[in-house]
Subunit: 294 residues, 2 copies
DNA sequence: ACAAAAGTGTTCGTCTTACACCCATGC
DNA sequence: GCATGGGTGTAAGACGAACACTTTTGT
């Protein structure tokens, strides 16, 4: 067959949500995602990743999902394969001094629409892109479809937006040649295409939460409706309608009351909920949708 | 880092729809999917696959999408990586005498619910699985969720159903040890986990057609509403409601009239449609949904 | 009393689904 | 005429979005 041996590595996007902020585990001062060699001897790639992550972070990994596999140039000129994974956990102190949790919107400021700053970032980007699009109808159509003002914002198109920005040379990683030029869009850079992998992970997760209950991997066992809502808002980057959100969740029989309530904070104590055992076990079928506000 | 060189290959699931039957390109008398070495020198894995397929089949490949990457035992005992892809085309005569197009329901008879036979296959399978589930509530819940009678049939859960059958040892590939035992479920076998890859492809495609217009890759330039409907029915394995189907398509501005009509067949001549240019170009955003009948 | 957060009821409009029916052609 | 497939109208009902309002705590 003529198969030539090649190098292979795993890249992990580990996600947690802490205090309403989606966080991702990074290394090298936030400039890269953790990656490691493909180890032989595991039942599957997924099992290999799980073992590797849990050995590195000493923290159990909940949900794991393969993202994408791509070929790249390895150090030394040879060809390599990288298999990227999305993993969900809860944030824990990291032992490795090189590793740290970072907010994912530090890398994608224009994707957070919970606050007006996100809208402003989008407006600034649209101005840049309008110049890039010029009078070409296809480019204009793409621009409005992906960054279209206000109403039509589709939070799942993270990767497509990143690719459009890349194409328009507004992403620093895309213009290695032009050193010294100021970054045309805000947001931290990453090495290689790690930021693109992160965009893929965000897009996948934003799509997934709508039809599969994976949020419980990110929450403590007991939680209030507001905590659940804020976790979803953090991932979606959008504010949700509180009364309708609680109805949507209860209607779907995703959660049950624990009988206990919170105390000590401002306002009326909130009931504590937990995910129903059937959901934890049978997370294959059910799902949940987002009632957007405004 | 300690990366050890490994073998890598590509596996392709090439799909076409001919005369209302979804077809897949196979080799070795229908027992395997076409696969080939990972070639160096291409821009991306996807470009490599495209070049390889078009060289082999002499037929252009429309839509291509990565399915899954997994590790397996290579001939010779070493570890290998397989990257599988879904590709959409129109059926063309194959040159390679070893290759042939096959209906995908030959491999998954229980997934075709356009005719009563599919229902009967499901009923027979449910009887087997009920014995396997016994009194265990979790197993029973999974059984009804995946194979649940009539109303709740979710056509997208192809892979989950296959995995359940595998777990229950009803798939011949899962019981290599017990040679000679009769196949407990109908359907052709495949080598290694190729049938599982095919299940992944079917599931992905059934999900995709609901939110992205990829059907046009499978149809001639001009087509009637019925042809479009039958193509979708073939993929979904379910019958659709004709009047509502046509409204759904026209409402979404997916197609435009060509001005011409069919002739010669039974019944009133049908208008010929084609996909709107904007759809062909901008196939990122729009989608389509299924109005199920009954 | 008031602020802050929890939680409930109900209306209005849209989108889905189903049913009923008419139209044009070949045999 | 009638079988076959093409095509349109419309009403019932499910679902989502929005608004108004009540409840329970801390200060």
């Amino acid at each position: 067959m003529g198969n030539e041996p090649i190098q292979a590595e795993l890249i992990a996007v580990l996600v947690a949500v802490t205090d309403g902020a989606p966080r991702v585990l990074t290394i090298e001062n936030g400039s890269a995602l953790p990656s490691g060699p493909l180890e032989t001897g595991h039942r599957s790639l997924q099992a290999g990743l799980r073992a590797w992550v849990e050995r590195q972070t000493h923290h159990p990994l909940g949900y794991v999902e393969q993202l994408y596999t791509f070929a790249d140039q390895q150090r030394g000129g040879g060809r390599g394969i990288s298999v990227s994974y999305l993993g969900l956990t809860r944030e824990a102190p990291v032992l490795d001094p090189d590793a740290a949790w970072r907010g994912w919107y530090e890398y994608f400021p224009w994707e957070d629409h919970r606050h007006p700053e996100g809208q402003r970032h989008v407006a600034a980007i649209v101005r840049h892109l309008a110049a890039w699009a010029g009078p070409v109808p296809a480019r204009q159509a793409r621009l409005t479809a992906l960054f279209g003002a206000g109403e039509g914002w589709n939070e799942e198109l993270v990767l497509q937006r990143y690719e459009l920005l890349w194409e328009a040379k507004l992403i620093p990683e895309a213009r290695r040649a032009r050193q010294g030029a100021p970054a045309p869009v805000p947001g931290l850079e990453m090495t290689h295409d790690h930021r693109r992998i992160l965009a893929t992970a965000i897009a996948r997760l934003r799509a997934k939460i709508k039809y599969r209950p994976v949020m419980f991997e990110l929450l403590p066992r007991d939680f209030t409706m507001l905590e659940l809502q804020q976790t979803m808002e953090a991932l979606a980057g959008q504010s949700l309608h509180k009364p309708n959100f609680r109805r949507l969740i209860t209607q779907q029989d995703l959660v049950e009351e624990t009988g206990r309530t919170t105390s000590g904070l401002a306002g009326r104590p909130a009931k504590l909920f937990r995910f129903r055992p059937a959901v934890l076990e049978e997370r294959r079928i059910a799902g949940s949708k987002l009632p957007l506000v405004r």
